[in-house]
């Protein structure tokens, strides 16, 4: 079995068979671990969303994302994750329809994003901080669980290949030359 929730983040884990994940945005609510698979805050409209996407994909039992709590001012992370599920991304990774500051998906593949969009439905409780109302939404999701989406999907992080610096003849960065006296200048073209 592939690893559940492989991307580290500030989240709590409950019953992995539950179809519900809850994004609490700027708030820090707790939930009945028997009823919710994974929950936690989500601060940023780029890296934060990528973590949610990757971790939800690792558990195909998750079919609903409840977005609740106070919106992250400036980032608009809650509006942005709903825009992602609704509209997807442009070719350059920009989340269509986002009102966030820098809403880009860059570290996971388009394929993974599309699978995420197919796997989950969003429940819009943006701005809602009533624990009772959020818990009622959890119950509604549990009652209409469509069942597993299939095999777990591992969203690999797209890593850039860097030069092997152990073999390099520069310090700090390949564009810089530093003299023994600490004088920084541009590395000559080779």
């Amino acid at each position: 079995m592939s690893e559940l929730y492989p991307w580290p983040g500030n989240y709590k884990i409950g019953n992995h068979e539950s179809p519900v994940a809850v994004v609490t945005l700027s708030d820090d609510f707790d939930f009945d671990p028997e009823k919710v698979a994974i929950w936690g805050p989500m601060k940023t409209e780029n890296l934060g969303i990528e973590k949610v996407v990757a971790n939800v994909l690792s558990n195909p039992n998750i079919r609903f994302i409840i977005v609740c709590g106070e919106e992250i001012r400036g980032h608009r992370s809650g509006q942005t994750i709903m825009a992602l599920i609704e509209n997807g991304v442009e070719k350059n990774g920009r989340i269509k329809g986002s009102e966030g500051a820098v809403p880009y998906i860059e570290n996971i593949s388009i394929e993974a994003v599309e699978r995420f969009r197919d796997q989950v439905d969003v429940v819009n409780l943006l701005g809602e901080t009533s624990k009772k109302k959020i818990s009622e939404a959890v119950e509604r999701c549990l009652n209409k669980d469509p069942g597993s989406f299939g095999e777990p999907y591992t969203a690999l992080k797209i890593e850039m290949k860097e030069e092997n610096v152990l073999e390099a003849d520069f310090a700090l960065h390949s564009s810089l030359k530093i003299s023994p006296w600490g004088e920084i200048s541009s590395m000559e073209e080779k």
Binding site: K43, G74, A101, Y104, E162, G182, E183, I184, S186
Partner: protein
Amino acid sequence: MFSYTQEQRTYDLEGIKLGGQPGVYPTLMVGTIFYKDQFEDPKKEQEKAVDLILEQDELSKKTSIPSLVDIFIYEKEEIEWKIDFALDHIEGFFSLDMPESEVRIEVIKHLEEIDALDKVIYNSLNLGITKEEIEELKENTPKGAILLGYNPQKNNTQGRADIIKDGGALMDEGLLPLAKDIGVEYFLLDTAATPFGEKACESLRAVPVFKNEFGLPTGCSLHNTVESWKWLNEYEGKDKIFKTLDTSIDNLPVLLGADFIYYGPIENSSLALPNMAMVNKLIAEGAEDYFGVEVSEKHPHRSI
């Protein structure tokens, strides 16, 4: 510790010298006010905000470390009273931190109406800039701007430099040519702090790369990296050590030549400015001895 062969441009922000070779001018420290968690009701607590600004000013006088105030504006409704507050209580330049493009557009219009564009460091020109915002900026141009080298697609040093230089694969043009085209006069390059695990060190590495490549005042706000550190946020002793870690991380970019630091909430000025005075004294002594630089008159190397 270091010197640059590339000529380094300096600015004069109404008496605050910014940029240049390490050791010549003291580091500009920028403290932010009106973050969400700083006040329960910021509009009603303006006296407290004034006290915090005065405390930073006082520390600048005592340490010879220059400072500016960065005002955080989240929503359109806050624009008028926060900018009035700035004009009432801040002499000279101030920075306006506005994450959302829509808010930035309204701020520009308001600054034009009250004839205050010449007082402002616009924080920031970044990847999220819209066509409407660019058009508005061309009509009404703030004197200075932070150019944020955040590149989510390629977040190593080169990717961050690309955003400044030519936009990389994400923008039609780089932020620097864009800022020149808009008519901004003071360019402050920000290497864009990222969390641990997201190439946090590249925001440090980019400091000498930006200064070498662009020859412009460069800085960053690494307190964001500390504040997003999951382990620290869960550590039981966080309260005792947080401010120390939040402050000390700013020493690293300055050692490499950073000219300005956004150090986070302004209430940390009592730690942040004396700390920076200490680091500046070390750097200035080294620069004077090794590179023969002439340390400026208003510098902790001379005054304390």
